[in-house]
Amino acid sequence: MSETITNDDHETVDEGKRDFIYIATGAVAAAGAASLAWPLVKQMGAAADTLAAGSIEIDLTKVEVGQQLKVLWRGKPVFVRHRTAKEIKDAVDTDIAKCPDPQTDDERLVANPEGKLNPAFLVMVGVCTHFGCVPVGEAGDYDGWYCPCHGSHYDTSGRIRKGPAPTNMVIPPYEYLTDTSIKVG
């Protein structure tokens, strides 16, 4: 570094100055390449219109007891299950210490405008937390949902009970507009 030498043509070469120029040029090129790489990477993320794909409103009166409504929200199915009394009882009576992802049934519900929970309606993203398949309703060892892909069993609260899925089915952000209609998203 930074020593002055004389080359074959008897010219004086300042090595330190050359090193500086090499490093400075390289640094500018690297910074330029990196700043161009970011748009190239970032363009693959969700586009603004996809992110803006807003919310949907669901009328709960159309879902009879024991029925399940499947609606598409952000490309994924949302389950709206009108649970039977037995299903609610099973969900509440479960010893959550035995669940891989412990949550009480109440924790999986959202309060209506009066601040009350309505255990009759379970709203969740109907996507298995294993690899994203859509579980089949009223099936599996716990009569909740069963994922046909890799055999995950969910109970009547959508909690994972058995199989490879790591967590309970996701509760989407939603709110009660009235007692009988909700807005998801």
Partner: protein, 428 residues
């Protein structure tokens, strides 16, 4: 492509002129005259067959892209239109789809041949590793391409596979969203898959170039694994091996044509002739047959992340194989113990494929029922666990230890001696 001294002599003024400026004919001539071991058997024809497969896929693929529409509203119909309305589309689309299966069939035979004859050992480690890169790219390309017809299996296969990336700790969800270009498999996903499916075969072609370059630099391995020692041990690639490869290619094309003309859909899934429906998962999601062993490894463990890690490890272990096998002897012909372990490994790979196809809870065989009336015996989950254990055990335990303790048979002095020796025995 170096490796042997060039013997090409340009005969005409024009070829001399060209040779001084761009020695491309010389390169081709040297390639065709490449001295190859004289004892290569038909298992060595799969390099040529695979080249043909790649060319077939690229040509039919470029044509299909002229008629295909990469949009979720039109993709399914455009593939059906290719098969029904486009002139000779009924031929070209199955050639591409069946061609993918044939490509994998050939690559698996090619890889097992390399495993048996120890073709991955010094100085051929890089040939093997480049081959593993090609295999990995083939799997990626196959997966991307399977999405394009936008059938039920396309959609749900893509959902499950991209779901793997969601299992990565901390960044999983954003990584998955980045790959999909949205919250779920959608139009953005289809379009990028199409773009990359078109790109990757050319990357594969480039790496095939490196694979062959490395091969011609160190020379081919052969069934006895003894390096050629004199000119007598080798034959010119052309006409000896071009003709031998041509025979093998002819046989291979018979099988290929049988599927294209008589069973064009046999290797696919009926579910993929239903349009993709994001609200309905098919009752039984299975990947294409060539991914089944890895699917079985994925499902062998109850933990999501560990399953994915194991599945990728099953491929990663191939990359380090040259340093895991401690035996100095290449060919398993001279490794009496390793040979048996190899045969078991081959069977295990088929069993893994079978496990991948079946539901984990199904029974392989049952021996009566228990008190609750459930059948007892071996189910596919446990079969896949046993076979997964052997798959990894073969590479990380058996091959490293066996190389140290096994007593190999005496190696022939040279290729010529081994070839002529067996002739004399046959005559006697």
């Amino acid at each position: 492509m170096s490796g042997h001294p060039s013997t090409y002599e340009p005969k005409y003024a024009a070829t001399r002129w060209l040779d001084q400026r761009l020695p491309i004919i010389r390169m081709g001539a040297d390639f065709m005259g490449f001295p190859s071991p004289r004892n290569l058997n038909y298992w060595y024809a799969f390099g040529g067959i695979l080249t043909l497969c790649l060319i077939t896929q690229i040509i039919t693929g470029v044509i299909l892209a002229m008629h295909y529409t990469p949009h979720i509203d039109f993709a399914f119909d455009s593939v059906q239109r290719i098969r029904r309305d486009v002139p000779f589309g009924w031929l070209l689309q199955p050639m591409h789809a069946v061609g993918a299966s044939m490509f994998f069939l050939a690559v698996y035979i090619h890889m097992f041949r390399g495993l048996y004859y120890g073709s991955y050992k010094a100085p051929r480690e890089l040939i093997w590793i480049l081959g593993c890169v090609i295999y990995l790219l083939m799997m990626a390309t196959g997966f991307l391409g399977y999405m394009l017809p936008w059938g039920q299996m396309s959609f749900w296969g893509a959902t499950v596979i991209t779901g793997f990336f969601g299992a990565v700790p901390f960044v999983g969800e954003s990584l998955q969203q980045w790959l999909l270009g949205g919250y779920s498999v959608d139009n953005a996903t289809l379009q990028r898959f199409f773009s990359l499916h078109y790109l990757l075969p050319f990357v594969i072609a480039a790496i095939v170039g490196l694979h062959i370059w490395a091969l011609h630099h160190v020379g081919q391995n052969n069934p006895i694994g003894v390096e050629p020692k004199s000119k007598k041990d080798t034959l010119s690639f052309h006409p000896f091996y071009t003709v031998k490869d041509a025979v093998a290619i002819g046989l291979f094309l018979l099988i290929f044509a049988y599927f294209v003309f008589y069973l064009p859909d046999a290797l696919g899934h009926a579910d993929n002739y239903q349009r993709a429906d994001p609200l309905k998962t098919p009752p039984h999601i299975v990947p294409e047959w060539y991914y089944l062993p890895f699917y079985a490894i994925l499902r062998a463990v109850p933990d999501k992340l560990l399953g994915i890690v194991l599945m990728f490890a099953a491929i990663a272990v191939l990359f380090v194989l040259p340093w895991l096998d401690t035996s100095k002897v290449r060919s398993m012909r001279f490794r009496p113990v390793a040979r048996w372990f190899f045969i078991i490994f081959l069977v295990v790979c088929f069993l893994l494929g079978w496990c991948g196809k079946e539901s984990p809870d199904n029974m392989v065989f049952s021996v009566g029922t228990n008190d609750a009336g459930d059948p007892m015996g071996l189910n596919f989950l446990w079969l896949s666990r046993i076979t997964t254990l052997y798959y990894f055990g073969y590479f990380v335990v058996i091959l490293p230890i066996l190389g140290l303790v096994e007593k190999p048979k005496a190696l022939p002095d040279s290729i010529t001696k081994s070839v002529l020796g067996s002739h004399k025995k046959a005559e006697a």
